[in-house]
């Protein structure tokens, strides 16, 4: 049935299924909790997410210890999966529950697990009576916490499911599974124009998944083998004309989810209105799903299409990088500033993908991880500042360094990381992307590379504007009353900062594994 890689069916694949089954189970369990016991609900959710983090960490260690050995029989173009399992789900459509992990997906899962863990911690005051001021009425009433954590767990389950599934149908199901919780979380627990933002976000994402839907059907029917499995489809040579239209459709579909330039309009409103944990998960992980999809499905299965279209997609990517930066400079609201900075950084991911060489692709994957951690930290800090000062507008705040030193120092460090200061994850990723862009042939690629590099200036401007505006300067009169970070929040921030530092200082092992994972995709692109 699958001539491709042999699956070492091992107990680990059950662990892999557990990664999304656990959040779902905890969501179900949470449903049984009575509404009033908010602290019990929070603790249970935290326990579930910690367990999940440990589980993913164990899997990562297992993976790094014994990565799947690439079999070079068919020119090394098939992805070797660790902890793989393959059960038939819908025989009518030949849909399989085909799961497995390679370096890219296991690292992204680790990213998701860490952010979920710290997100749960960061939303410790959600639903607490009188918790977060002007937060939606429903959330502040004591029964808000239960729905919040149930939806958060479902969102997490969807994300984990996506990263492990190697069957297009299952991938699409999990991808869509994340839509409802995201909408409800933002619409019910968000702030500001939350309903408008939630609806806009969901509609545009569903527009994107309409394109993906189209692409998946194209792949299924034009491949001749009527299968959804990515492994099998990667061995099929599709007809160039088909690839001519299927690739842009798929790439745009995932691009919309991955915050590509013209279609990024959902992310600023979405993030600004979402509660802290949701914007962390949304910006940190959910957007990476888009770029992951571009890499794994669009480029891996339709390499000739990639060859044809990548120069075209370089333009929106580069424009996105520069555009995100310029717009972020003018933003008054911290969350909008960070949202537009995410647009810029996600544009960098697409620049990395557009280079089509090993360094560029590796840079893109690293940037996904780095930006994931960094933007999650920044959103967490902004959330915590918001809980204290009840405002996110930069002009309204100044001199917070004196009253909340811990948060301010973390904010400075996160800002520096977002800036791309060496020693943090951002620099390692950006270095690879720029190097890949300069190495890519063609004047367009080189011009794109120049613009991308110049973007680090703009990012310096808007980040410093925010950091200086909020933390430095004469403290305002109400500053004295603010309380610094509570231990719960400290743990959340420190885990994220640790991840940023580790990825920044010792990228070696991670990069080595990611290169092995990228090899099949590159061999396909070169064929």
């Amino acid at each position: 049935m699958t001539p491709v890689s042999t699956f070492a069916y091992s107990a680990a694949s059950n662990l892999l299924t557990l990664t999304w089954a656990l959040p779902l189970a905890s969501a179900a369990a949470l449903a049984l909790f009575p509404r009033q016991r908010v602290s019990a609900i929070r603790r249970f959710a935290l326990a579930a997410n910690t367990l999940n983090l440990i589980l993913v960490a164990v899997l990562t260690v297992l993976f790094f210890k014994s990565p799947p050995v690439p079999n070079t029989s068919s020119g090394g173009t098939e992805t070797m999966l660790a902890f793989a399992a393959d059960h038939e789900w819908l025989s009518v459509l030949n849909v399989h529950y085909l799961i497995g992990v390679d370096a890219i997906s296991i690292t992204l899962m680790l990213l998701a697990a860490v952010i979920l863990f710290s997100g749960t911690l960061a939303s410790w005051t959600i639903g607490a009576p009188g918790g977060t001021g002007k937060v939606a009425a429903l959330a502040s009433s004591e029964n808000g916490a239960k729905e919040f954590f149930i939806l958060l767990q479902i969102l997490a389950a969807g994300v984990f499911g996506c990263f492990i599934s190697f069957d297009l149908f299952t991938f699409f199901v999990f991808n869509e599974l994340t839509l409802i919780p995201t909408y409800l979380l933002i619409a019910l627990f968000g702030s500001g124009r939350r309903e408008y933002a939630a609806m806009k976000l969901t509609l545009i994402l569903m527009g994107g998944s309409a394109l993906i839907f189209l692409g998946i059907f194209g792949l299924y029917f034009e491949s001749g083998i009527h299968s959804f499995s990515i492994l099998e489809l990667s061995q099929v040579r599709f007809h160039p004309d088909f690839q001519g239209w299927a690739f842009p459709v798929l790439f745009l579909g995932f691009g919309i989810l991955g915050n590509m330039f013209p279609f990024h309009i959902w992310s600023p409103d979405g993030h600004a209105s979402a509660p802290t944990a949701v914007s962390m998960l949304l910006a940190g992980v959910h957007m990476k799903l888009g770029a992951y999809g571009c890499l794994r499905i669009a480029m891996y299965l339709l390499p000739e299409g990639a060859g044809m279209w990548m120069n075209v997609f370089l333009i929106p990517a580069v424009v996105g990088v520069v555009w995100g930066g310029f717009v972020a400079v003018r933003q008054k609201d911290l969350k909008y500033m960070n949202a537009y900075s995410s647009v810029s950084h996600c544009g960098l991911v697409f620049v990395g993908l557009a280079t089509l060489n090993l360094i560029g692709l590796r840079g893109a994957v690293l940037q996904m991880l780095a930006h994931g951690f960094i933007t999650a930290t920044v959103f967490a800090v902004i959330g915590m500042i918001y809980q204290r000062t009840h405002t996110r507008r930069i002009p309204d705040m100044s001199g917070l360094m004196r009253s909340i030193p811990f948060l301010s120092v973390v904010f400075v460090i996160a800002g520096m990381a977002a800036l791309g200061l060496p020693g943090f994850a951002g620099f390692a990723a950006e270095l690879n992307i720029f190097l890949g862009a300069f190495a890519a042939a063609g004047t367009l690629a080189r011009m794109g590379a120049v613009l991308a590099v110049l973007s680090i200036i703009v990012s310096a401007i808007y980040i410093l504007r925010a950091v200086n505006g909020v933390l430095h300067g004469p403290p305002k009169e109400n500053a004295a009353v603010l309380s610094d970070a509570v231990p719960v929040e400290k743990i959340a921030l420190l885990t994220l900062l640790a991840a940023i530092l580790v990825l920044g200082l010792w990228p070696g092992p991670v990069v080595h594994r990611i290169d092995d994972a990228l090899m099949p995709i590159l061999n396909n692109l070169k064929r």
């Binding site: 789900w89 819908l90 025989s91 009518v92 459509l93 939606a136 009425a137 429903l138 009433s141 149908f169 699409f172 199901v173 999990f174 869509e176 599974l177 839509l179 409802i180 909408y183 409800l184 619409a187 019910l188 309903e195 609806m199 969901t202 509609l203 569903m206 527009g207 998944s209 309409a210 394109l211 839907f213 189209l214 059907f217 194209g218 299924y220 029917f221």
Partner: protein, 496 residues
């Protein structure tokens, strides 16, 4: 020829006869049970239908199916019949409470015997329609399926809308049946005889459709009449008014049972004898599908009346189902599976929605604002509403997604990629207008102090669910999720 009473006769006819007998019995219950008439009639009807369902499932049927005097019953036909029986069963269960006074602002329903009788007559018509082997049985079946609905729509004397809806429905229906008569006459002209096999022979003999004007005229006019029953775009103008005017139970039956019958009729005809390689009806169906999606979406977007909203959403769902007919050559089996599965799923979701509407409709006018604060009044009902809406939209974990995916798969088989994209966009837009309902349901009720506005008009009385109501809601919810994830039902339908 097989003697009348040998086993094929039994397995072919018995369920239909049983249904007919049940209809007659129900008519006479009025005389037997003087008191509690409504409840007893309902009980008899439900028992009868259960028997019919068992018969359908249990009767041995040779794999090739049984053919008898213009009646052909294959295993897939049995599935159609089971769908119809289920729809009628659900309608009866839903309509039981409407016979009590004060159960709905539109006044109580009159004589239950006639109501259930007509309902069962209509189902008999659907049974005949599906197992027809010639145009005559097909036409009579179609008539029998539709006629009782005119009467049912007009059955609520005290509600002005009911009479108006009934007469509109009747006028449009009569015109459609005249149109189908005209169509069948041309088909008869082209094929020389009424049998489906003759039709198939003549349709495949000629080089192209344009070479056979009669066949084309007949096909189009029949498409028109079926389009009317399906509420397809050019013929959907009646649906909103009739859905609004008719009693809730009848609207439920219209949107599920009658639509299923329309889809079944189109399948037996256009995926049976008329599924011709050169008759590129795929393009027409695709065009109709797109227009239906557009009309359904646009209509539902600004609708505040719950019933008209359901009408437009059913027009959109008809659009999705029409996609299955664009499959072209060799896609009959896949299209049938997709349509049957989707009808089952759409039916479940619709009845869940109607269940909520009927409960809300007791104390408040059936408009979207009256859903406000449903989550506060009864969380279970709000959850059921959410599940049914997400399924109607087609979001994965729930059954709606799988149904729509199968439909799109049939269209994709023939390369209709633009059509799929428009379908998927329609799914996205449908999220917008279905969410308007959910937003109202989960809108925290603006009590006077935190919004300053006068307390909301709708009194905030919690909705109590009777035991039967609770387990019905639970069953529907479980069904929606199970149908979405477990392949069991899909494999069952596919194996037929």
């Amino acid at each position: 020829m097989s003697t009348p009473f040998s086993t094929p006769f039994l397995s072919a006819f018995l369920p239909d006869l049983a249904l007919l007998v049940l209809a007659l019995v129900v008519l006479t219950t009025e005389i037997v049970f003087r008191k509690h008439q409504a409840r007893w009639t309902a009980r008899v009807a439900v028992a009868g239908l259960a028997a019919v369902l068992i018969l359908l499932a249990a009767l041995p049927l040779p794999s090739g199916g049984v053919a008898y005097a213009g009646y052909q019953v294959t295993r897939s036909v049995v599935v159609w019949k089971q769908l119809f029986a289920l729809a009628t069963l659900a309608t009866i269960l839903l309509s039981r409470s409407y016979f009590r006074n004060g159960h709905s602002l539109r006044g109580a329903l009159a004589n239950p015997g006639a109501f259930y009788g007509l309902l069962l007559f209509s189902t008999t018509g659907m049974f005949a329609l599906v197992s027809a082997r010639d145009l005559l049985t097909f036409y009579i079946g179609l008539e029998l399926a539709t006629l009782p609905l005119y009467a049912l729509t007009a059955l609520q004397p005290r509600n002005a809308g009911s009479i108006e809806a009934g007469s509109k429905y009747m006028l449009m229906g009569a015109f459609a049946s005249a149109l189908s008569l005209f169509g069948i006459s041309f088909l008869y002209g082209a094929a020389g005889s009424l049998g489906f096999d003759a039709l198939a022979k003549v349709a495949s003999a000629q080089p192209s459709l344009s070479a056979q004007p009669f066949l084309l005229a007949g096909v189009l006019m029949l498409l028109g009449s079926l389009g009317f029953k399906l509420a397809m775009v050019p013929f959907q103008m009646w649906a909103p008014d009739v859905y609004e005017g008719a009693p809730t139970a009848v609207t439920a039956f219209l949107s599920t049972g009658s639509k299923a019958a329309a889809v079944a009729a189109t399948t037996t005809l256009f995926l049976g004898p008329l599924n011709l390689p050169r008759i590129d009806l795929g393009a027409i169906f695709a065009l109709a599908a797109v227009l239906s999606l557009l009309a359904g979406t646009l209509g539902a977007m600004r609708q505040s009346n719950l019933r008209r909203f359901i009408a437009y959403s059913s027009i959109a769902q008809a659009g999705y189902m029409l996609m299955a007919f664009t499959g072209g050559e060799g896609s009959e089996a896949a299209a049938r599976i997709a349509l049957q599965y989707n009808l089952l799923v759409y039916g479940t979701a619709s009845f869940a929605l109607f269940f909520v509407v009927s409960l809300v409709g007791r104390s408040a006018p059936e408009t979207i604002p009256s859903l406000r604060g449903l989550s506060a009044r009864s969380p279970a009902l709000a959850a059921l509403l959410a599940l049914s809406l997400f399924s109607l939209i087609g979001i994965p974990p729930l059954a709606g997604f799988l149904g729509k995916f199968l439909l799109f798969a049939v269209a994709a088989r023939n390369g209709h990629y633009t059509l799929i994209f428009i379908g998927a966009l329609a799914v996205a837009l449908s999220f917008y207008y279905y969410m308007r309902l959910l937003k109202e349901a989960y809108q925290p009720v603006q009590t006077a102090e935190n919004r300053g506005a006068p307390a909301s008009a709708v009194p905030l009385s919690p909705i109590r669910l009777s035991l039967a109501g609770k387990c019905a809601a639970a069953l529907l919810a479980i069904l929606l999720v199970v149908l979405g994830t477990c392949p069991g039902m899909l494999n069952f339908i596919a194996s037929r």
